[in-house]
Symmetry: C2
Subunit: 90 residues, 2 copies
């Protein structure tokens, strides 16, 4: 996306792929932090990769645990359909 447009496909070259991963992971975490701060919302992200020994998370392990606990309390069906009461709000 800069010196040349990047084709949206797996980067075959190992070192290029790792370099891109490190840069983009950093950028993504920054974006998520900005979204959360600017809009006052809760969010989390978990990223697995061979480059990090443990999953990279945002905002923190405890923050992720809190949000996924909430996510799991949603009945399976409600995770896909709109809920009427909140629909009214939006």
């Amino acid at each position: 996306m800069t010196r040349k447009k990047v084709k949206l496909a797996f980067i075959a070259n190992d070192s290029s792929r790792k370099a891109t991963y490190k840069k983009r992971k950093k950028g993504l975490m920054k974006k998520l932090n900005e979204l959360s701060t600017l809009c006052g919302i809760n969010a989390c992200a978990i990223i697995y990769s061979p480059y990090d020994s443990n999953p990279e998370v945002w905002p923190s392990n405890s923050g992720v645990q809190r949000i996924i606990s909430e996510f799991r309390t949603l009945p399976e069906m409600d995770q896909n359909k709109k809920m009427v009461d909140q629909e009214t709000f939006c």
Copy 2:
């Protein structure tokens, strides 16, 4: 970030905040999709907001469920420390 620099703070104006949320959420999901594709990694994100009746997720509800299940299988301590065997790989 464009016509004017944005201060990293909660956007007080309701309509501006909502507009920013919608744009940035879309951008974030695109970035996560790109990271996953380019680098061949597994990742997920969950975003809660008053603008969407249900949490917005990437890549899908089932994908999120799969990844958080894996995350939860990590012993609490391992979620923060480096693991020696993978350290060698990186």
